[in-house]
Symmetry: C3
Subunit: 357 residues, 3 copies
């Protein structure tokens, strides 16, 4: 047994070194808001959304940077934030576990998480209070990408990055906070970055691109299948594999992340999706679910193509945002609607109705 990556058994030393280098301190605020999001055509879900978004804003930093994130709870229930993947070296009280590392952040209160991002990769953050509901069904998760001090050769070849966070939803409890998450329940909607096909978005590439997709099993297990390309599995939970392997169905266990790299050498229109069969439907109706399409630039499609007249939103896989470097990046696309707007909408409706009578 060889231990090339033995360095990870001595992380504190690595950290020390990285802190001597040009580490930065990044300070952010992040709210938790009660919002309603459109997950699929005709299906809405009440969420507790980080900065009003599902997924939450992209946080990006460099290995060794210090993050100070003030989390402000504008919701009606208690929450915390766990920074999944960060080791919290010398900062265990920043780990975000209620009644273990901190008291939960009560409604109206805030908490400042202050820690060094001590290891690189595809990390994420999520609530650690009542996880089966808050994470499982209410969208309390977002990506955190920590760039390594020493990227692998293969990482340097990447020309386009994509983030895909997979999750499940349960329409029976979707609109009732405080309900849902019992083991006997079954999710009936499945999504990538909070949306189910057909309201996901294409990932547009050009021939020659080397695409890195960071797959997150945020709240549903995933068996990811990309048509037209084998993918190289390069990172497990953000850490490079000593022995990467080729695959066409990539399993991501709940909470895990897998990075894959694929060369865009085969122009066409290629579906890619969770291969767990019922994850490709909306409440049992196909097409739907955790499905998207890679579209090569310049490929002609026919009139019957599902997304022929698709209104394209280029940042759905955060590819644009990933170009911006360090920071906390809000992504308007993922913004839900505040219940107030819901309520006022309903009021208007009622008024209209009463007028009609």
């Amino acid at each position: 047994m060889k231990f090339k990556h033995l360095k990870y058994l001595c992380l504190p030393l690595v950290m020390l070194l990285s802190q001597l280098a040009n580490a930065e301190t990044l300070e952010f605020e992040m709210t938790i808001d009660e919002m309603t999001v459109d997950v699929a055509p005709g299906f809405k879900n009440k969420v507790w959304a980080f900065n009003g978004q599902v997924p939450g804003p992209l946080i990006r930093a460099k290995e060794g940077d210090r993050l100070k994130v003030k989390v402000i709870n504008n919701s009606t229930l208690a929450h915390t934030v766990h920074w999944h993947g960060t080791l919290q070296t010398n900062s265990w009280k920043m780990d975000g576990v209620p009644n273990v590392t901190q008291k939960a952040i009560e409604p109206g209160e805030s908490f400042v998480y202050d820690f060094v991002v001590d290891r690189p990769g595809s990390l994420w953050y999520h609530c650690h209070v009542n996880v089966p509901e808050h994470v499982g069904l209410r969208g309390m998760w977002g990506p955190m990408i920590i760039d390594p001090k020493e990227p692998e050769e293969i990482e340097k070849e990447v020309t386009k990055e994509a983030i895909m966070m997979f999750s499940g939803w349960n329409s029976e409890v979707a609109m009732e906070y405080g309900k849902g998450g019992h083991p006997a329940e079954k999710s009936d909607y499945f999504s990538i970055n909070g949306k189910s096909f057909p309201i996901t978005q294409p990932l547009r590439v050009k021939e020659g691109d080397v695409v890195r997709i960071r797959l997150y099993a945020a709240s549903s297990e995933v068996a990811y299948h990309l048509h037209g390309h084998d993918v190289l599995v390069t990172h497990k939970d953000g850490l490079p594999l000593e022995s990467p392997y080729w695959s066409d169905v990539v399993h991501v266990p709940m909470g895990g992340r897998i990075d894959i790299i694929a060369r865009m050498d085969n122009p066409g229109i290629w579906i890619n999706h969770d291969h767990i069969e019922h994850h490709t439907s909306n409440a049992g109706k196909m097409p739907g679910g955790a499905v998207t399409i890679i579209e090569y630039e310049g490929v002609e499609t026919e009139d019957w193509y599902s997304w022929k007249d698709k209104e394209y939103q280029p940042d759905f896989y955060m590819s644009e945002t990933m170009k911006k470097g360090s920071g906390l990046h809000n992504i308007d696309l993922f913004k839900g609607k505040a219940p107030e707007s819901d309520r006022s909408a309903r009021k208007k409706k009622r008024k209209k109705k009463s007028k009609a009578h």
Copy 2:
């Protein structure tokens, strides 16, 4: 990070080379028929069967060969065929995804899939229309084995091949086309090559055999366990692992394939099965499910042995068919019954009944 298998990042080149070599063109016809199959004792299921079979016929070819398969839809609903694992280099319109790469094949119509099998391994084909029902519950899948130009050393040692396709079934909707596949439903029968124990078959070997088993998670997740032998996991989704590993429980995510190789060095009678507990029952009654037995030649069994008087059908794991080389190979064993024969059977029954009155 080493990239020994970097060749897969330059597949088009590999393809070009392989096409210069002795590539063949193989032409086949394949129908889609409405059939009824016996899955377990007392349990029948209506399927859309490729050439009337579940699994569909074995398709075998050499890396670089060109396949032309005319698919004729004799059923009452629309279908397509996705060639899972084939990259469809320069032929994305042959990828078999409805409303993405083609219009679905309507009842009574046909479609010619014409493509080069551009990468080797344990591939498969399946419908891509309404997958939770068509693939999940109606048997629309079959194996496609593409022999590599350059097999690995370990592959050359193999003396016996076996194909095991795992799937789930739902007795509540078994006999009603157009029903089933909702996420809240649970499969209650589990099978290997379309049959549940005890109507599966033994895999007979002799001491010294080196057996390669190609595990397919066609429509149920698998945790395969072979008693009496550790198995070497050599291929993931048909592609060789740079670093194979030993295992006694092999996970195959939905849609994935794992090849294992095991030396038959331990004479005995060895059960092997999906270790997901309820996958070893028929509607909750054990023994049943995705279970079979490896029987060594010359081992004496007792009178109480479950399969003491088993009627042996030697090609159940396609070992015989795998000896035949390239082609589309029908396997009578997997043939269902046409509904006509069902109907005429019912008619006869009714007649008998009326006579009795």
Copy 3:
């Protein structure tokens, strides 16, 4: 493809050699008893318990030792014992599969399993009769650790061992023998070593410890997540990986075992748990489920810490027992209550009641 571990393809030879060395014969008795165990606060389950315990007693031996285990069935239904991971070289009739390798052990009867432990690692034993109920819901499993002749370098560094066996439970059928295990049922309790949080125990470590945790998916699939540390995945099903890998969510398929090694270099209080969301609840109520906490020696906790006044039972992860070397080791902690004591308790209760009237 390199085959460094090719030795496993020639196990009989290895065995022969090991038997020439200082192999021992270990003889034990093990009963199967009808017991009731406390799984979670307010939730009891009737089990068939090996030596009255769930998990069953720890069996430990050296590679090449001979085991003779007399299993005495004191329960009201038939059982067998399968020694999962042992290859049973030249002893297939000791494999413990009813109607395949033996007739099941009837109530009141016994059977002597006699075999050489022919390969090392994290093995286990479990009943092979009606597995969905007996293993899935009635606690018929225990750990068997076989020490290798030639441990890997990394194994020698370990200062503390822990065994975590994960399982699910179904409260609807918990108290009725002969019920449960149908595929449509869902477990609603989840546990480590038979207990759900908060009645699991801390794993106490000190800085500098190198901890090896042997994860067992005894009767529930696991996605294990340790906070504060990346873990090195070193063994799959007890066998060393040629290419270990780092991870923060470790998937263990049903029936599988994964060994992880982590350096305790980050003092704090660290939750660790199954990341499948509903596995962290008791009947849907969080906190609960397959959750425990690693506590570093000397770290101060606050008054609100969940386990502030926890009554500590040091051998819950079998760390103490693992120090004892070869043998069959009963662990009182895991002992259930005999139904007699239940019955007499109920009688007393009734008496009290009638007195009260």
